[in-house]
């Protein structure tokens, strides 16, 4: 197990090094002649107005919150799925109750209009 994760760690290092090397090589080989027009923010030729800091609407946050709940749920469902074949019907009923309770939450969010992207 630990050696497997060591390989993953090595993979991580090499996987980061190769793209980084590509960028570094490009940075060495490429010319660099900056001027203000070239470096201006790209907005299809229109001058940028104001800051780039956009105020986002609450919808992004709400979806992230709902997603978080379901993400944690799947953490429980993976061990359940692995042991399903050994435990048979008992585990299936268990899973149905588990998912059923959460679906009630989804229905609640739906009825409250939280799933609308407006």
């Amino acid at each position: 197990m630990q050696t497997e994760w060591m390989y993953i760690g090595l993979f991580l290092v090499v996987g980061a090094l190769i793209p980084a090397a590509a960028i570094i090589v490009a940075a060495i080989l490429s010319p660099r002649k900056p001027n203000p027009i070239k470096e201006s923010t790209y907005e299809c030729g229109i001058e940028t107005v104001g800051e780039n800091w956009v105020q986002f609407k609450a919808q992004y946050y709400i979806f992230a919150l709902i997603f978080l709940v379901f993400d944690v749920e799947t953490v429980f469902l993976f061990p359940w799925a692995v042991s399903l074949n050994q435990l048979g019907m008992f585990a299936v009923v268990e899973g149905i109750i588990f998912i059923g309770i959460l679906m009630a939450g989804l229905v609640y969010a739906w009825r409250k209009g939280m799933l609308e992207w407006v």
Partner: protein
């Protein structure tokens, strides 16, 4: 067990290093390092040819010829592109956060390359046989999500930020049906290891759970950010989304990682639903398994291309509706249904009754879903038509 890191070749190589007076453990690590370097190099070369494939495919879909000037069938074209990308001017647009800006493409490419650590190429050629392989896939995917946010935020551009955030909102939403779609092979094989899932597929899972395959295909398309879910590249609204301010090699990394990601997911579709490297004679001749696997992965890649160049983009609110109001309830219902039929047919596992039972129950489930959707659509249509009566016989 044989793997990419412990096979006769690596044993021989670490033996050579030990012979030079190196510590055996250090020799082992060095060998693994070389093996990974080799694998990633091969993957990157594959990626270069994917650029060519992609351009050829899109050209054919749009009734063009595509690159055909450099070399036979334009095969040298991608190398010319790379040289161009490398010697392009290194532009830092005004106000970018230099460290994050440079880190984003690296993390993006890394998140795709990391998937190859668990890629089951053939019975003896695979990276790491993690027992949590399926979850690893999702975890690495979340690193990709992170790099999109980093790219969008550090570019100091409203459109980049907006594109990145939309893309991330969509990616996290579609992660739920994707995870559930991955739970289905986990249930059927009783393991989270990708290699175990391949070994368990005496019958391809596409036959047992065709709906699971469709679910995975849709959610993977969204996860990859490809059309019809390519919000980030909604040219008419957001120009190029999170990589709008990138040029040269950094843009090249985003582009290459997208193509490689697609190919990798084609491979995972093959592994989860098309029996991976399995095929006649693959167990005895592993090289045949590699061949089968690459064929299947290429078909998966082409399938993503087919979808991309056929369907128009969907608006973001429709996409969110599709996910939260249809795919999420549908996926959980399907999960429960598959678990239930799998348990009911448990006595027949391995016989044709099980296979036919799973297939028929899946088709029944799909038919019921379609029927519910059809009724609902008819109801919606009648509601709309009731408000605005259409004059008959005239315009």
């Amino acid at each position: 067990m044989d793997s990419f890191f412990s096979n006769p070749v690596t044993d021989w190589l670490s033996g050579v290093f030990t012979g030079w007076g190196m510590n055996p453990d250090a020799a082992h690590v060095l060998t693994a390092f070389i093996a990974i370097l080799l694998l990633i190099t091969v993957v990157m070369v594959l990626d270069i040819f994917l650029v060519w494939t992609e351009r050829k495919i899109v050209a054919r879909f749009q009734d063009r010829i595509g690159p055909n000037r450099l070399g036979p069938f334009g095969l040298i074209q991608p190398f010319a592109d790379i040289i161009k990308l490398i010697i392009k001017e290194n532009i830092y647009p005004k106000g970018v956060d230099k460290i994050v800006y440079n880190l984003a493409p690296v993390i993006m490419m890394m998140s795709v390359l990391l998937l190859w650590a668990v890629f089951p190429l053939s019975p003896i050629l695979f990276g790491v046989d993690l027992n949590v392989g399926v979850l690893y896939l999702i975890g690495v995917g979340s690193l990709g999500t992170l790099s999109i946010i980093m790219a969008g935020w550090s570019s100091n551009n409203k459109y980049a930020l907006l594109g990145a955030f939309r893309q991330v909102a969509v990616m996290i939403s579609y992660e739920i049906p994707m995870v559930v779609a991955l739970l289905i092979p986990t249930i059927l094989s009783g393991s989270m290891g990708i290699n175990d899932i391949v070994w368990a597929q005496d019958v391809w899972y596409i036959v047992l759970v065709p709906l699971g395959f469709i679910l995975f295909l849709i959610s993977a398309t969204a996860e990859l950010g490809r059309a019809p879910f390519d919000l980030t590249e909604a040219e008419s609204e957001l120009i190029a989304g999170h990589h709008i301010e990138y040029s040269g090699m950094k843009f090249g990394l985003f582009y290459a990682s997208e193509l490689l990601h697609t190919f990798t997911f084609g491979g995972f579709i093959a592994a989860f639903f098309f029996g991976g490297w399995r095929g006649p004679g693959a167990e005895t001749y592993p090289i045949l398994g590699l061949f089968y696997f690459l064929i299947k992965a290429t078909i998966g890649y082409w399938l993503f291309g087919w979808i991309k160049y056929t369907l128009p983009r969907i608006r973001i609110d429709k996409m969110m509706d599709l996910n939260w109001k249809f795919l999420v309830p549908f996926s959980f219902a399907l999960l429960v249904f598959v678990a239930l039929t799998n348990a009911l047919l448990a006595d027949f596992v391995g016989s044709w009754i099980y296979w036919v039972g799973m297939l028929l129950s899946n088709l029944l489930f799909g038919w019921v879903t379609m029927e519910i959707l059809r009724r609902r659509a008819r109801g919606e249509r009648e509601k709309v038509e009731g408000v605005q009566p259409v004059a008959e016989g005239g315009h």
